[in-house]
Symmetry: C2
Subunit: 217 residues, 2 copies
DNA sequence: TAGATTGTTAATCGATTAACAATC
DNA sequence: TAGATTGTTAATCGATTAACAATC
């Protein structure tokens, strides 16, 4: 409802937006015209209050008694999340994970165009991954600039992650998705989001062992 | 310091433990004997106050003027995170991502043993991924039980994620790592952690566009 | 209309930070 | 010893939830 500047939205809220977006999109595709805060809450494990509070940060109103228009909400969330404009991505690290991401079909459909993949190993340079050719690290900076990459995905071992980040920062990248499990130090103008798979597994290990709702159903 | 039950530790704190653990481990390997709350905070982008507060949830004390013993802290965090005992993992979905995870060397070193990989496509069944053979979905339940799998990694398209989760739940899995971007409904006795790569990219898109520290350094 | 659902305010709950006495 | 750093209490800050008048 409010007409806030986008950077007023708290991170905790932004982190839920992709969930809302994915769910609303599915609903709309399944022919649903309306979705209520209660529907959203139930589907995503939130209270309806949280949902309404979150959506108040976005320039879009629901309608009493019906809820939110799926089409309208999908559009406004797409705009906020930048899903309506293409971002250009380079992947650094052509190991199993890097190659898998390069081949992962989902990104293209979501507006992320992979414009390069790099690896420090001379063994890999020149090999192809889908339609891309693995390039040596020395070409990274030039390629980021020429191909106007916005985002770098760091899929290298922890030891080299910071050095790769430094190179990407110098090439004027705007954001980093960090798959390595080190904390990256970068200037404020570059945004970093971590997706640490091993850390998630460890979080899960803890959860499993402290789960007080025993084994039997 | 305190001798709390493990399930007293708030999720926000547990989520930082893998970071502490990885950092302390590196420090110890580099020959560091001591690490202070300030060191940890600076390395991980936290205040030293948060670090001390977090570590007070763990049964281990630092020493005035020196900090925390790297060896001691590493051990106690390993115990809390379950990194000291092997967990057995099955991967469902042998697409690019599933196969990449199966081949990803890091898991083995961290105590996660991959004991099976499954896919619904008859085209894939029988093919090998590293030392594993892709099995058909109909064998999932039996395999989870026989191979005593603790954790299932869901690496299938969103549409089938819930159905895969249901099958794993019936096979008495204890935890799920969900790579699909749907919210999974499972009984309380099963723990779920989401790692949504696309959602992270969207979070990053928002961050890039709302970053008020413009392009120039 | 009556009832359902929004948007928003106020209350609660939880997490982070500041501050500082204890201590090695 | 003097100084650095912990562990912990109290203050602040932010996020979630409850409640309800407005409204379609």
């Amino acid at each position: 409802m409010k007409n806030r500047a986008p950077n007023d939205i708290p991170a905790s809220v932004v982190r839920r937006f992709p969930k809302y977006y994915a769910y609303v999109q599915r609903r709309r595709r399944d022919g649903g015209e309306w979705v209520s805060s209660q529907d959203l809450g139930e589907a995503l494990g939130l209270t309806s209050s949280t949902v309404r509070q979150d959506l108040s940060h976005v320039d879009f109103s629901g309608i009493s008694k019906r809820g939110y228009s799926t089409v309208g909400l999908e559009h406004v969330l797409a705009r906020v999340l930048g899903a309506d404009q293409e971002l250009r991505v380079v992947i650094v690290g052509a190991g199993n994970l890097g190659r898998a991401l390069a081949l992962h079909g989902e990104f293209a459909g979501k507006g992320y165009r992979i414009v390069g993949i790099f690896d420090s190993s001379p063994r890999l340079a020149g090999r192809t991954v889908g339609t891309l050719t693995i390039q040596p690290m020395k070409d990274l900076a030039a390629a980021v600039k020429r191909r106007k990459a916005d985002i770098g995905i760091i899929a290298v071992p922890s030891e080299s992650a910071q050095s790769v980040a430094d190179q990407l920062v110098l090439s004027r990248i705007r954001g980093l998705l960090n798959l390595a499990h080190v904390h990256l130090l970068v200037p404020r103008r570059v945004s970093v989001v971590d997706t640490r798979i091993v850390a998630s597994l460890q979080e899960l290990s803890y959860a499993i062992r402290s789960n007080r709702f025993g084994r039997p159903t």
